[in-house]
């Protein structure tokens, strides 16, 4: 063989970006060509291993379908299947156009700008993208379906209960984890790669997994037990278990409930906390002194959890008493009716969870004693992606709260809620603190200037998504609503958004039915899109496409910050790492952050941007950006790093070493009892939110159909529109699941991932139970249509599996591209999102989360 001698072999340390998890990588180059990406064993993030997406990343770098030059649309027509007739232009020309467009709206009304990002590259967007947005002065951002589908409920509830973005079982010590629509440790979600190893170690150790899910999936395949359930009914099952635990078995952690929750807070007949007249603080009943006291009174000798008391002539009950009564209607029989989970199974699940919780036990770790509660109830995308988003999450969370397993060894861990910092500088540092009514506020949060608790006051909508009127909503459906203009008129939005700067989001595919989205996008004056590939969004609606650098060509100073999003939880190590260019951007590609820096400069926004970056990156003293001088992106990154880790650990150090790693302390992981905070079982503050929001809605005279019953303080099962569908023709529940080999929609263009997906029985096909299919005369492999009650339909092949609820159809990921610009992805898999309705009736009235299950009929495609 004519083997050529390798002249130069080089390794570069960096961070992955095939999804937001950003595992540590090391990349090998031969004569400047990238030939291998491996995990970086020095990094705790990924621990030297890679998921299939990370393993496939180098095909992005060299894909000839990449965008390599700025492109301007020459066809004024826009639409889902319109040829944009792209024309290549220079960066100079592109920048001139951008600056002119942005100058115009900055001067007239900065609110007209919408910054659109993608969760995939959240850690890039959260840096410069968000700083640019704030500096420009617009309240509008949108993350496509990656945001709207995945986290309004789970992140809110995880934030309130765990001061973290998400939740994992303590894989080191947990003995039983029950997953409700979550796959943590089986390929998707936060720290997907890192926690695959933790979960595998736990399985080998003998930890039991029970997976509650409409389909078996990868988590179910590895579980000890799979409990099939009707999509969106998780709250009924969880509340049924809570009912059995506290009303039948009498299993609950009274000490935890008394000291760490609002379980003893008294509630009056008006369903509000009974508050001290002077201080406004909630009251509890001290059964020893036989009188009411404020919850933090130092003379409290005990807290009553049950009973009825009279305080100043007002009859009141502790929250726990109300909860007991509230959940009593979730009998095993009723739970079975709603969920199809057999009543015996409901009892078995509750009993096992209660027994394995080992209430009262302790464990010594690192020479220190902690309460030991080796059970965890975990929820994520599956349970939260419904009209009942908030209550589904709270209901499951109550299981952890009842047995006291939150953030103690063996329990349910909000990850990295506490950080003591790098030992030499004490930075970065955060921990939860006490807020109103004794409730926990997070120590850090993914999006700055906001906390999940306290939820800010609702106000007249300034944001195009009305999120400020519904302030627990991170993402809003209004972007894709068919009646968007009517909504804006009803809610008197003072302006209309007219320019989008998009960063990699394919919002035409990722949100829901693309037809109304297309009509909404046509109304924008100008859409700028940073992309690595052209896609259905850019081809259909962008006016100017900028060739973005991919993760192997880009510098990011904080790909894993804040670590409550994408740094592995539990015991182990801390790692701070950077993402750096492995090769200089090829062709005319440029990095998003650098381009935005230049745009800001040319718009005269230097001071605003620098000051915003100073706040965002917490730059102090000599590390602050001085608006008197101009910095390159590299210089900014250098300051960000030195500010945290000292002068000897700036960009040069990180470029060479890649990752800074230090030991995590048990007190950072198991912090619940060390920090004086409580969490609410009874979300009394929802009443304040409701009252303020309703008042504004009424003042505005908006006729929106908002069901305010979702603002009751205790969770309930509330049906999705799919549960209420009466037409028998539409007899199957469609849902989609996250597929281990794909991130949102963009990875289908990576040939290696496509190849393993084609070879997989399920990834590109529709999961159906054989009996269900046979009744309809369908055979394995048939080409079918699935159609929703509104007449939207998609075509695909069915694949028989016993691993799906007979009343459900399972679809993988966000597939079914139709654009020629991604030839590998085109025509692969099924575009499930097309079947989703994006309107008031399909969102949670508290957090505006979209309902992601839909009733379908299925028939053979001719």
């Amino acid at each position: 063989m004519g083997q050529e001698i390798v002249h130069k072999e080089e390794w570069v340390v960096s961070a992955c970006n095939l999804d937001y998890n950003a595992c540590g990588i090391r990349v090998k180059k031969e004569n400047g060509i990238v030939v291998k990406i491996e995990g970086n064993p020095e990094s705790a993030i990924g621990k030297g291993r890679l998921c299939p997406r990370g393993s496939a990343g180098l095909q992005i770098l060299y894909d000839p379908n990449r965008v390599n030059k700025p492109l301007i649309r020459t066809n004024p027509e826009k639409g889902l299947n319109v040829d944009p007739k792209w024309k290549e232009i220079s960066w100079d020309e592109a920048m001139n156009i951008i600056v002119e467009k942005l100058k115009e709206i900055r001067e007239t009304d900065p609110r007209k700008l919408v910054m659109q990002g993608t969760t995939t590259a959240a850690n890039t967007f959260l840096g410069m993208g968000m700083a640019f947005q704030e500096a420009f002065g617009t309240p509008n951002e949108f993350y496509g379906g990656g945001g709207l589908h995945c986290g309004n409920g789970a992140h809110l509830v995880n934030g309130v209960y765990h001061a973290s973005w998400s939740l994992v079982p303590d894989f080191d010590y947990c003995n039983l984890a029950i997953y409700f629509g979550a796959s943590k440790g089986h390929g998707a979600g936060h720290n997907a790669n890192s926690i695959m190893l933790q979960a595998a170690d736990a399985r080998v150790r003998g930890m039991k997994f029970i997976v509650v899910d409409p389909h078996l999936g990868r988590a179910g395949a590895k579980a000890d037990k799979w409990v099939p359930i009707i999509p969106g009914t998780d709250s009924a099952l969880a509340l049924g278990m809570v009912n059995l635990l506290i009303n039948e078995f009498g299993v609950y952690d009274a000490e935890y409930l008394k000291l760490k929750t609002d379980a003893p807070y008294l509630v009056g007949p008006d369903r509000r906390y009974l508050r001290d007249r002077e201080t406004g603080k909630p009251m509890i009943w001290d059964p020893v002194d036989e009188r009411a006291k404020v919850y933090d009174d130092e003379t409290i000798r005990d807290y009553a959890l049950e009973g009825v008391y009279e305080v100043d002539g007002v009859k009141c009950k502790p929250v726990f008493q109300i909860l007991k009564e509230h959940v009593s209607r979730y009998t095993p029989e009723r739970v079975e009716e709603i969920t199809t989970v057999p009543k015996e199974t409901v009892v078995e699940l509750a009993r096992e969870f209660g027994e394995k919780a080992m209430i009262g036990s302790t464990i010594t770790i690192g020479g220190k004693s902690y309460p030991y509660r080796p059970v965890a109830a975990i929820y994520f995308r599956g349970s939260q992606g419904h009209k009942n988003s908030v209550y589904n999450c709270i209901s499951v969370e109550l299981l952890n709260q009842i047995v006291g397993s939150a953030d103690v060894p063996g329990g349910a861990l909000g990850f990295n809620s506490v950080c003591f910092g790098y030992p030499e500088t004490g930075k970065p540092r955060w921990e939860p603190k006490k807020g109103k009514d004794g409730f926990m506020m997070t120590g850090t949060w993914v999006v700055p200037h906001h906390q999940p608790f306290p939820i800010p006051e609702p106000r007249k909508p300034q944001k195009m998504g009305l999120n400020d009127l519904f302030p627990s909503a991170m993402h809003s459906f209004v972007y894709g609503a068919p009646d968007q203009e009517e909504i804006w008129q009803e809610f008197r939005l003072e302006y209309r958004p007219s320019v989008i700067i998009n960063f990699g989001s394919n919002a035409v595919m990722s949100v829901g039915d693309p037809e109304p989205i297309a009509e909404n996008l046509k109304k924008y004056d100008f859409i700028i899109s940073f992309d690595i590939y052209l896609n259905e969004f850019t081809n259909g609606f962008a006016d100017l496409v900028l060739p973005d650098a991919c993760y192997l060509e880009r510098l990011d100073p904080s790909p894993n910050y804040p670590p409550i999003l994408n740094h592995p939880g539990g015991l182990g190590k801390w790692t701070y790492q950077i993402r750096q260019p492995v090769v200089k951007p090829l062709h005319d590609r440029r990095s998003y952050s650098e381009v935005l820096l230049e745009i800001a400069e040319r718009l005269g926004l230097r001071e605003a941007l620098y000051e915003t970056l100073n706040i965002k990156f917490e730059l102090e003293g000599k590390y602050r950006l001085d608006p008197e001088r101009k910095y390159t992106w590299e210089e900014i990154c250098d300051l960000v790093l030195k500010n945290k880790f000292g002068d000897d650990k700036g960009l040069e150090w990180f470029k060479e070493h890649g990752a800074l790693t230090w030991e995590k302390k048990p007190d950072e992981v198991y912090w619940r009892w060390r920090i004086d905070v409580r969490v609410p079982l009874y979300w009394e503050f929802l009443y304040d939110l409701r009252d303020k929001a309703r008042k504004i809605v009424e003042e505005l005279g908006a006729r929106a159909n908002i069901d305010w019953s979702f603002y009751e303080p205790l969770p309930d099962f509330k049906p999705c529109p799919s549960h209420e569908m009466e037409d028998e023709e539409y007899d199957l529940y469609g849902f989609y699941y996250r597929e281990i080999r794909h991130t949102n929609s963009f990875t289908m263009q990576i040939p290696w991932l496509d190849e393993v997906s084609v070879n997989d029985p399920y990834t590109y096909n529709i999961e159906i139970h054989p009996e269900t299919a046979r009744k309809k005369g369908l055979r394995d492999g048939d080409l079918v249509w699935v159609e929703n009650p509104h007449g939207s339909r998609v075509k695909g092949r069915i694949r028989f599996t016993e691993g799906i609820h007979p009343k459900a159809l399972g679809f993988a990921a966000c597939a079914g591209h139709w654009c020629d610009c991604q030839p590998i992805a085109k025509g692969k898999g099924i575009f499930f999102n097309k079947l989703l309705r994006v309107d008031w009736n399909h969102v949670n009235p508290v957090n505006l989360n979209l309902d992601l299950c839909v009733k379908l009929k299925i028939y053979r495609a001719e």
Partner: protein, 103 residues
Amino acid sequence: MTETARVVVKFFGFIMDVVKKPEIEVEIKEECSVMEFVHRLADMFGDRFRERVLTDCGEIRDHVRISIGKEMVDKEDYEKRLIKPGMNGEAFKLFVFSSQMGG
């Protein structure tokens, strides 16, 4: 009295649509707290400013940040920290973030 009794006020972020100008000068006769000063700005700019920056109870909203020159003012110090005529030439900077939750 210093030679100038003016305070330079710079606005940043989601307030530009209300104040229009990124920078103004405000005359003050005697020192006042940061809180009082923000209320004074609210009186100058009216209800839209007030809604954006203050809660219904008149507190400075959580997503507002204030610095005097290069130094951020802690939330706890809004009542204590004083704005003085002249302020040694340092600007009063008011940042309004758009209060978002995330992704």
